[in-house]
């Protein structure tokens, strides 16, 4: 059974984020009222529920906060991607409260470690959507 890997379908709210990735920038929201950085995109700030959110390109470098090497596909869609190098990346200051679900590229499973510095990889899809993956810095 071949199931296609699910792709993101941007929404009116999230479109600026995906437009950012398409031009190889990470553009996320910040709350104008409480200054919280907001990820993923929302209509209201998850710290204070303010609707005053504005978009900013940020430096998208960060560190691996957590990871796992999935030796068994996480769903039938990902059978061909095993071992899956799944990670949570925490962005550098000033957006260090932002954590992003991603996959790692250009790294051997054994070299993955929490705290490892990583930089974004813009993975442009044929459907016009760009995924935000990460690889080791340097």
């Amino acid at each position: 059974m071949d199931l296609e890997v699910p792709r993101p379908h941007p929404t009116p709210t999230s479109q600026p984020f995906w437009d950012g990735l398409a031009r190889e920038a990470v553009c996320i929201q910040q709350c104008d009222d409480c200054s919280a950085w907001v990820y993923y995109p929302r209509v209201r700030c998850p710290r204070c529920l303010s609707a005053r959110l504005s978009w900013h390109d940020v430096g998208a470098t960060g560190v691996i906060h957590a990871f796992s090497v999935a030796r068994q596909a996480t769903s039938p869609h990902f059978v061909k991607e095993v071992p899956q190098l799944l990670a949570i990346v925490e962005l550098d200051a000033p957006c260090e409260e932002v954590r992003i679900t991603t996959t790692l590229v250009d790294i051997e499973p054994d070299a993955i470690a929490i705290g490892l510095r990583v930089v974004p990889v813009y993975d442009h899809g044929a459907d016009g959507v760009t995924l935000l993956r990460y690889r080791p810095a340097g």
Binding site: L3, V5, P6, R7, P8, H9, P10, T11, S14, Y40, H65, A66, F67, S68, V69, A70, R71, Q72, A73, T74, S75, P76, H77, F78, E81, Q84, L86, A87, I88, R99, I100, T101, T102, T103, P109, I114, G115, L131, R133
Partner: protein, 400 residues
């Protein structure tokens, strides 16, 4: 704040978990009615006494209006109707909601059930719903998971628990042999429970560590075995409990806490929501973690049980591995944890896996579990976990 402790679990019923179902398939509603009847019989109560029901999201014949469907099917006339959507925490959630409703005086006999036996094959099957491949992750358009997690392969349960385990190891150290010992101790208890799927199958630490790596650092034997099954409980007022057939298990404390669905967005990956839930449950009951005679901790994965030991207050944060090394967690030990074998040893029958911790606590308080009985068991702590440490609930149950 909280319960007076005037409601009690007075009836239980449970289908024996089976890896390969040996019976005749029945509909969820049929299983619900069957288990409800068995639990009422166990309580010594009549179906006409029922005036409250607590259901979950596992009644397959009815995606919506579940309590109304169940009430109609079973002939119940109820003043309290709940449909829980807390995954593995639904069973614990049912208990405290029922107890609260009883103490408020809106009902005095509540039946709750979770059902997970196979259903008959549909004679007119439609196309396979693509949602089945996403498990409890939502791939609906507009769902945060569909947009920001699933496209990267972060879905279902294994990888989330694995990432939490990795993070835990980074902060506090990861002793593979200790966490494997937790699985082994629970298997020891499963071997004293003829109903457990792994009855008669003891294992060693090396067996756990030699089992297939599923998602680093989690091995196959650290993950529950899906089985068929189901369970029901009857919760009743003190008046009704006084006349019940068995020693009632009074609900003296509860807590519940949730903050996220996907671990990426947890406030802190290694401080799990059961912490605030447990603190509330103990404060309400007037007991401390030292006062309970055994614990029944939700254990979909070894790391879930380990973090629940820590965050429920049975040891300091970060000392769970040492705690497991230093204590015998089997029914024979100095920290009896998951005396029925846990779901790791008993099997996970869908949402009924979470109920198995509740039914075991009730049985321990009744004093009728045979070989695995804890001597003089008067107080039990129970936890429930749904999603990926997403929704967690806690109970303190006490014998009269």
């Amino acid at each position: 704040m909280g319960l007076r402790g005037d409601a009690a679990i007075v009836g239980i019923a449970e289908y024996r978990p089976e890896r390969k179902f040996s019976g005749t398939p029945t509909f969820s509603l049929e299983q619900w009615a069957d288990l409800a009847a068995q639990a009422l019989d166990d309580a010594g109560l009549d179906a006409r006494d029922v005036n409250g029901i607590a259901c979950a999201h596992d009644v397959r014949e009815s995606g919506f209006f579940v309590p109304a469907t169940v009430a109609e099917y079973c002939g119940f006339r109820v003043n309290f109707a709940e449909r829980l959507d807390l995954g593995g925490a639904s069973s614990v959630g049912m208990v405290w909601r029922a107890a609260a409703a009883i103490e408020l005086g809106v009902c005095d006999v509540v039946v709750g059930a979770v059902v997970s036996r196979p259903r008959p094959l549909d004679p007119t099957p439609g196309p396979i719903d693509p949602r089945v491949y996403f498990g409890s992750s939502s791939n609906e358009w507009g769902s945060p998971q569909a947009e920001f997690d699933i496209p990267y392969g972060n879905l279902a349960q294994n990888c989330g628990y694995a990432m939490i385990a990795q993070r835990y190891g980074e902060q506090f150290g990861y002793d593979q042999r200790a966490i494997a010992k937790l699985v082994v101790d629970q298997r020891t208890s499963a071997c004293a429970n003829p109903d457990a799927v792994f009855f008669g199958h003891p294992i060693t630490i090396d067996d756990v560590l030699n089992s297939k790596m599923v998602a680093d650092p989690i091995h196959m034997l650290e993950i529950v075995m899906p089985v068929s099954g189901g369970a029901a409980i009857v919760i009743a007022s003190k008046d009704k409990a006084r006349r019940s057939r068995h020693r009632p298990a009074f609900v003296t404390g509860f807590g519940e806490h949730l903050t996220h669905k996907t671990p990426t967005y947890m406030p802190n990956l290694v401080e799990t929501p059961v912490g605030p839930a447990a603190r509330q449950a103990f404060a309400m009951s007037g007991l401390t973690p030292n006062d309970v005679d055994c614990v029944e901790l939700y254990d979909c994965y070894s790391i879930t049980a380990l973090l629940s030991i820590e965050d429920s207050g049975f040891c300091e944060k970060g000392e769970g591995m040492a705690f497991v090394r230093e204590h015998d967690l089997s029914y024979k030990g100095d920290f009896p944890c998951n005396t029925h074998g846990g779901q790791l040893g008993f099997g996970q029958a869908g949402l009924a896996g979470g109920m198995s911790h509740v039914t075991e606590a009730v049985r321990q308080l009744r004093g009728d579990v045979g070989e695995r009985q804890i001597a003089g068991c008067d107080a039990v702590y129970v936890s429930g976990t749904g999603g990926v440490m997403s929704e967690q609930s806690a109970l303190v149950l006490q014998g009269a």
